[in-house]
């Protein structure tokens, strides 16, 4: 597979209402790879995700998607980006007024009204089966557990085969079996459809299973951006603390 860059940021500074959360972010995401974003709680992982998917204008710097800079002031430019991505939100963000089937079908219903009822049903049930939620498709989000909602939200994110799927803590709150099922699903989608993933996660096992590349954010900036293998061999104390849960290093850092 070609090593082609799909997302590239230059000197990106992210934050809210002028307050910088992290700066000097030069992120590179290669097509067809799974990139894991790591960092302590509150370091700005979700903020980075929101910026890269076009929801939060950066304080400075640029985001390029497939070679084209994203213009955060142009709804058209954003829509071009949205059409090519899928997002799994930290809170799942399924619409509470629709049942699971309708939620997952929403992008088809709204953007492709021409697709027949039967085909739509087929598409949706296939996706729901992949995440193990097909039997629950008549139920409403409020009647489901957090993990079930996450899975359905993943089905919705991938329903139109986006080129890049962004996941904010997909396996937080899931049992290890379901979580590893999600990992398998991501790997399969990557292998089979060449989908690129940008995943925020804290789950060590999941990182080891899926990560091709890793981005580590620390102290308002990027500490590491590169292949996972390279990260494992790193002698950086912060990274070691993160990975090996090396207590001594962790203590040293927090002091």
């Amino acid at each position: 597979m070609r090593e082609e860059t799909i997302i590239q940021t230059h000197g990106l500074s992210i934050g809210y209402h002028g307050t910088v959360v992290a700066s000097d972010i030069d992120l590179t995401v290669k097509r067809g790879r799974i990139v894991v974003v790591l960092g302590k709680s509150g370091c700005g992982k979700s903020t980075l995700l929101k910026t890269v998917i076009g929801l939060l204008p950066p304080i400075s710097g640029t985001v390029e998607f497939d070679g084209n800079p994203v213009d955060f002031n142009s709804e058209q430019s954003l829509q071009r980006l949205f059409r090519r991505i899928g997002v799994l939100y930290q809170n799942s963000a399924l619409l509470n007024s629709l049942n699971l089937y309708e939620n997952v079908a929403l992008p088809i219903t709204m953007h492709h009204p021409a697709i027949s009822h039967e085909i739509r049903r087929e598409m949706v049930t296939n996706r729901l089966r992949q995440v193990g939620m097909a039997p629950e498709m008549e139920r409403y989000p409020a009647e489901l557990s957090g993990g079930m909602r996450k899975r359905a939200a993943l089905a919705r994110a991938m329903i139109l085969d986006p080129e890049v799927i962004f996941c904010d803590e997909p396996s937080a709150g899931l049992d290890p079996i379901t979580a590893s099922g999600l990992d398998e699903l991501m790997l399969n989608l990557k292998e089979l459809l060449g989908i690129t993933f940008l995943v925020v996660t804290h789950e060590l096992r999941s990182i080891e299973r899926i990560a091709d590349d890793v981005l580590v954010i620390q102290e308002k900036s990027i500490r590491f951006n590169g292949p996972f293998q390279q990260l494992r061999d790193s002698s950086d104390p912060f990274i070691r603390a993160f990975f090996l849960r090396d207590k001594a290093d962790a203590k040293e850092l927090s002091s």
Binding site: V87, R156, K251
Partner: protein, 348 residues
């Protein structure tokens, strides 16, 4: 100083929440100056409350010594009270509230209003961007949800206004003019105002609560990244639905309110239903009915837009949903009353 000269305190076997009072009584009598020896030899059980009491003692009493701490208890104390978990990275807290000047909010409100007109227009032409069946759903919610309360309130207002006026009119022997007062007053003023206020409380509040909680739960973001326009997707069905619900509600309210006045006319002022009706028609014209309806329609749209505005501009998480809802009702009702005065100034 050796341990014998210290104040010896034998801690109980269960250093737990249940025994809080007892332990506190025990320890509360200590004098901070005295050297103390805490004897843990009897302690078998400890929870975080117990650990907190111990760590508090350690902090406040300069001269304290612990004895008989088993390795297990010592470890527990360390875990409960010991090392701080690393705090999140962010140095200064990000501002949660955008600096909202009056002018800025008014501008945003105007922008939203203009956008919504464009969205409704676009939808009526192209039939895209709104979930199928959503308009019916909203119409049902608004109409069916409010017709009962609108009827009761306008009936009572009709009765009240009639009773208030009937007394004066009867004193002048002008009983029959009650029909004019009630008919004109209800149709032009009170029905639009009361319907507007009820819709602000029922429909407006629920729109704000719904949109604000969708925003807080990232559902609005999700709609956006699914390539939908949340302001169109959520607002257009409600704007159209209220446009359909208002004429139904106003007609109902006019009938019920005037009926309330008629009852007073019959039983208090001795005016028959027929006479009441005929007298009313000499004053009230179709124009008045249309003006009343038009005013209520404007109120309805103002309610939906200001509720949506408050919903979309929510901040501060779940707490913000409640705040936004309250503010939205206040804003809607204030706007209705201001608009009503402007209409009155323009028309009379």
């Amino acid at each position: 100083m050796d341990s014998d000269s210290r104040l010896h305190i034998l801690l109980p076997s269960r250093l737990v929440l249940e025994n809080y009072k007892e332990i506190q009584n025990h320890l509360g009598r200590l004098n901070p100056e005295d050297p103390v020896l805490l004897d843990f030899s009897q302690v078998e059980q400890m929870d975080s409350t117990g650990a907190a009491m111990i760590s508090y003692l350690n902090k406040t009493y300069p001269d304290i010594r612990c004895d008989g701490l088993s390795p297990r208890l010592k470890h527990m104390l360390d875990v409960f009270t010991g090392t701080d978990a690393p705090t999140p990275d962010s140095g200064e807290p990000a501002k949660t509230l955008p600096s909202s000047h009056w002018g800025e909010s008014v501008k945003q409100f105007m922008v939203l209003m203009a956008d919504e007109f464009a969205h409704v227009w676009h939808y009526l032409w192209r039939r895209r961007g709104v979930y199928p069946g959503e308009i019916h759903h909203q119409l049902f919610q608004m109409g069916y949800g409010s017709y009962w309360i609108v009827s009761v309130i306008t009936f009572l207002v009709g009765v009240t206004i009639a009773l208030t006026s009937a007394k004066q009119l009867n004193d002048f022997g002008a009983n029959i003019f009650l029909a004019d007062v009630v008919g004109f007053g209800m149709i032009r003023e009170l029905v639009p105002l009361m319907t507007g206020i009820i819709l602000a409380g029922k429909v407006g509040a629920s729109i704000t609560a719904e949109i604000a909680s969708m925003k807080v739960l990232e559902e609005v973001d999700a709609l956006h990244t699914m390539g939908l326009n949340p302001e169109k997707f959520l607002m257009v069905p409600r704007l159209i639905a209220i446009g359909l619900a208002v004429p139904l509600l106003v007609t109902l309210a006019n009938i019920v309110g005037i009926f309330g006045g008629m009852l007073v006319g019959k039983f208090y002022s001795g005016i028959s239903f027929k006479a009441f009706y005929q007298e009313m028609l000499t004053i009230v014209e179709l124009d008045d009915v249309l003006i009343g309806l038009g005013k209520t329609l404007v109120f309805g749209w103002v309610i939906v837009i200001s509720s949506g505005f408050k919903g979309f501009s929510v901040s501060r998480g779940a707490l913000g949903v409640g705040i936004a809802t309250t503010e939205s009702v206040v804003l809607s009702i204030s706007l209705i009353i201001v608009l009503d005065s402007i209409f009155a100034l323009l028309m009379y």
